[in-house]
């Protein structure tokens, strides 16, 4: 039987160390304009990598559930709906989709 407490402590440690390293060193480094640009691009590329293909695993059996959610969120965002409303509406629409599935 796996020791879950060991898993929790081990994961906590290996997650905290990478978080701590920049906290200590960032102040002492002076980034040039090229590195600044690189760092400014990270939010875009990190979000792209987090969304795709992870969004397709929202439901481990039905990949299209995540795709529907992604399309809904993107559409609402395009129409400038506020962030909080996008999150709530996407969840509500997925609940609706789930309850419609048995009808097909």
């Amino acid at each position: 039987m796996i020791n879950i407490n060991l898993v929790i402590l081990g994961c906590a440690l290996v997650t905290f160390i990478p978080r701590l390293i920049p906290a200590i060193f960032v102040d002492r480094l002076n980034f040039g304009p090229k590195v600044e640009k690189f760092l400014n691009l990270i939010p875009y590329t990190a979000l792209a990598a987090l969304i795709c293909p992870g969004v397709l695993t929202v439901d481990s059996q039905l990949w299209y559930i995540g795709l529907i959610g992604a399309v809904v969120a993107a559409g609402l965002s395009w129409k400038k709906v506020p962030l909080g409303a996008i999150v709530i509406l996407t969840v509500v629409i997925l609940v609706t989709v789930y309850s419609l599935i048995p009808m097909f």
């Binding site: 081990g10 905290f16 590329t45 792209a48 795709c52 965002s77």
Partner: protein, 213 residues
């Protein structure tokens, strides 16, 4: 913090099913505080993986926080060694993304954002532990979309008016899918870094001012 309560409930559903007790479920969220890492960890426990395999996977998957914290502390004004060390634990995809695309760059703004996100994530797990028996599976499953909805809602307006940034996002997404077959869990951090390198050449510098609007 918006996506975190429903997502935290979704995580708690998964952890309890995997064999975590309620105390362990909440502790994991307090101490690790990494949505994807926790969900992968709980899934691996359920699938009978060894502790070492789970810890190694978490290390690889969460290595991106080193890159994200570098960006956060680089943007943050009036940061100090002590302040950085105290807030280091609080970086997540969400706080990093919201802070990056926000005009405000003061330390206190970040601390407020980061603390409320952390507490929301913990609160989500606590609520999950208590109410799970009453929630139908389709609702907890639907909660899993909330963080992705937030990511998409942050990204779409940011790339809407810049075709080259949009192209970079698509390239990085494809790269991540391909790299998963080659390097497995390393793909997330590798595609983020390689994508940003590609961006150095295909995106012109003007996006840095535009993204603050």
């Amino acid at each position: 913090m918006l996506g975190y309560i429903p997502m935290g409930i979704g995580y708690a559903a998964l952890a309890l099913k995997a064999g975590f007790n309620p105390f362990q479920t909440v502790s994991f969220s307090i101490l690790v505080y990494a949505g994807a890492g926790e969900i992968i960890g709980a899934t691996m426990v359920a699938n009978g993986a060894t502790a070492i395999a789970i810890i190694l996977t978490n290390f690889v998957v969460n290595l991106r926080y080193m890159v994200m914290n570098t960006a956060v502390f680089n943007k943050m004004e009036e940061n100090s060694l002590l302040g950085n060390m105290l807030t280091a634990h609080l970086v997540t995809d969400e706080t990093f993304a919201l802070f990056s695309f926000e005009k405000e760059s003061s330390m206190w703004f970040y601390v407020g954002l980061a603390l409320s996100s952390w507490l929301s994530w913990i609160l989500g797990a606590v609520i999950g532990v208590f109410v799970l028996d009453f929630l139908p599976v389709i609702v907890t499953n639907s909660f899993n979309i909330s963080l992705y909805a937030l990511f998409i809602a942050i990204l779409v307006p940011a790339v809407k008016n810049n075709k080259r940034l949009g192209l970079l996002v698509v390239i990085t997404a494809i790269l991540n899918v391909i790299l998963q077959f080659v390097v497995g869990n390393w793909s997330l951090i590798l595609s983020t870094l390689i994508g940003a390198l590609i961006g150095m050449y295909i995106v012109d510098d003007s996006f840095m001012e535009a993204s603050n609007d």
